[in-house]
């Protein structure tokens, strides 16, 4: 089971976090293989949200992650 934590703080939310959550929740494959959790601000986004959105996959932080990048990462984890 892959553990994914999505930062739902204000900065990440305004800069793509919500959209990442949508992608995860609307994908059956990800839902089956991952444990998706919304968490409070991970305090990694920086003062002007320059690192948003932030997600944590298996306790490793990924900053300024794009949707395609996240999907690639998860695919890699699933195939491992």
């Amino acid at each position: 089971m892959i553990k994914i934590e999505i930062c739902c703080g204000l900065n990440c939310l305004a800069h793509g976090g919500q959209e990442l959550l949508d992608i995860l929740e609307n994908n059956e494959k990800y839902k089956k293989n991952c444990e998706i959790k919304c968490v409070n601000c991970l305090n990694e986004c920086g003062d002007t949200a320059e690192n948003s959105p932030v997600i944590k996959i298996n306790d490793k932080i990924y900053k300024k992650i794009t949707a395609d990048c996240m999907m690639n990462l998860i695919e890699n984890f699933i195939s491992k």
Binding site: C8, G16, Q18
Partner: protein
């Protein structure tokens, strides 16, 4: 196999794009500048904060990128755009004039940033590379204007003859003929977007109803709306008594963890004295419109006495829909659309009755509400309008994160049907439910037919059918919403439509009362 075709509203919504990123970063930078009391000349630094690389990221040069950001900043301050070719420093005297707590916003609200407009060609059918120059070439045979011919082994459309009927595209076995349209014009339900002499998008303000759909549909981010965040923050910082009224679509807009109670705490922390739900005003509007409907049902039973020309109750809460109906079907609108004001106005009245000197800020997903504030009666009640997207920027500037706050007091101003307003169909359902409760016992189960439409193009179609009386049975309640799926699809919203819809429904169920009449009497 292709995926299902999406309409223009579904194409870019719910996807985080660099256009969204720039828009939000500009708003946050402007808000931060005011919150931190930076001198007005610091406005010149913002383009360099947003476009901080030395090589172009989005367009052909960083200079152009910054020039467009400068225009966005002017809009965020509520200033007029500078005409093409009139570019001077952003920091003029007008910046100083905008840092005030009084209203400075002027029409128009929705503006084309011409420097950012890529002059997309107007709608046309074009032959793509998929064309194989087949022997049958049915495209040439079906064209009623003889505009399609075979040239150099491929199909060719003479644009001067083409009437854009689309027959050629329909018959092509390779789907090689594509319909290309400008996203802004495709999103505009009232056909207000034309081209100027140079091919830049141009808004015909006689037709524009400020719904804001072109803003969120332009893939180049070349259309923007004026904002009032600078004046709102200034008013709060000056210690004025500022009240917030928050539209029912706010649920889930700030993420799944920001509960209504947390947003309430965040707004209080920001400096608002009190927060009211606009659903309270929605309840009052429902009650009024339900009373109108009861009257109408009575009249329908005795048609010989009534001289009233009213045929149905048209909802009045969506500003864009009302403006659009008034413009295109003036008689129909005058006779049938309810006179009652929008929920925003009714809620503001409640606040102003308590504190006439207070400043009322409406927070919602809607841009047309900024337009509504130019109506004299509304102007005296609602001082400023801010979208959810702008509120996030202001939260960021104040360094307030609703998620981190504790839940103190939950909002509880409204009934569940008032809270259901922002989903398309919600207003009509609300009026019908309330009307059934008002009708005498014997008539409770009478038929109340209703129709509803979302997006302005659909609304206009509906009005056209109403005018020619094509509906059978004739509807008694007609609801129009300018945004796709209702207010939750508004241009100033952040949440995805599905999630917002579910959350709004859930919040409505949490309300203590079902019908407005139940608790409005108690108060």
């Amino acid at each position: 196999m292709g995926k299902k075709d999406l309409n223009i509203f579904e194409k870019m919504r719910g996807i985080y794009t660099p256009v969204t990123e720039i828009r939000r970063k500009v708003l946050a930078a402007v808000a931060r500048m005011i919150v931190e009391d930076q001198p007005p000349r610091n406005i010149e630094y913002i383009p360099y904060q947003i476009i901080d690389k030395d090589i172009p990221t989005y367009r052909e040069s960083v200079f152009k990128e910054r020039a467009i950001v400068r225009e966005r900043i002017r809009l965020a301050f509520g200033m007029e755009l500078k005409e093409f070719g009139a570019h001077g420093p952003i920091h003029d005297d007008d910046v100083i004039n905008t840092i005030t707590d009084s209203k400075i916003l002027k029409r128009p609200i929705v503006n084309v940033i011409k420097a950012g407009c890529e002059r997309c060609p107007e709608h046309s059918f074009i032959v793509t590379d998929l064309c194989r120059g087949c022997i049958a070439h049915p495209c040439t045979s079906v064209c009623p204007k003889n505009a399609v011919s075979i040239q150099k082994g491929k199909s060719f459309i003479d644009q001067s003859k083409c009437i854009r009927c689309g027959r050629c595209a329909q018959v092509c076995p390779y789907n090689a003929i594509a319909y290309r349209e400008r996203p802004c014009a495709a999103a505009c339900g009232v056909k207000a977007i034309t081209s100027d002499d140079y091919g830049f998008a141009d808004i015909n303000y006689n037709l524009c109803v400020s719904c804001g759909m072109c803003i969120v549909s332009c893939p180049f981010g070349a259309i923007g709306e004026k904002s009032e965040i600078v004046q709102i923050i200034t008013a709060i910082k000056k210690g004025k008594r500022v009240y917030a009224e928050i539209a029912p679509a706010f649920i889930n807009q700030f993420g799944p963890l920001a509960t209504p109670a947390k947003i309430h705490s965040a707004l209080l922390k920001m400096g608002f004295l009190d927060i009211k739900e606009v659903a309270l005003g929605a309840d009052k509007v429902v009650l009024k419109e339900a009373e109108e409907l009861v009257k109408l049902i009575k009249q329908k039973k005795e048609p010989h006495i009534s001289k009233d020309q009213r045929n149905f109750i048209g909802t009045s809460c969506c500003t864009s829909w009302k403006m659009c109906a008034d413009h295109h079907f003036p008689n129909l609108a005058k006779n049938n659309i309810s006179e009652s004001f929008a929920p925003m106005v009714e809620t503001a009245r409640v606040i102003k009755n308590k504190d006439p000197e207070g400043i009322v800020v409406f927070i919602g997903p809607c841009i047309a509400k900024k337009e509504e504030c130019f109506i004299p009666e509304v102007k005296s009640l609602v001082d400023f309008v801010m979208t959810f997207e702008e509120l996030v920027a202001v939260f960021q500037a104040f360094d307030i994160d609703p998620v981190d706050l504790t839940e103190e007091e939950s909002i509880n101003d409204a009934s569940s049907i008032g809270r259901n307003f922002p989903v398309a169909g919600g207003v009509a359902q609300a009026i019908i439910q309330q009307t059934r409760a008002l009708l005498p016992e014997s008539e409770k189960n009478c038929d109340i037919t209703h129709i509803n439409a979302d997006t302005l193009a659909e609304c206009l179609k509906m009005l056209k059918k109403l005018k020619s009386e094509k509906y059978d049975p004739k509807p008694l309640v007609v609801e129009g919403m300018a945004c796709p799926f209702g207010c939750i699809g508004g241009p100033g919203s952040l949440s995805s439509l599905n999630r917002a819809k579910i959350a709004v429904k859930k919040f409505a169920e949490e309300a203590e009362n079902t019908l407005p009449s139940e608790y409005l009497k108690k108060k």
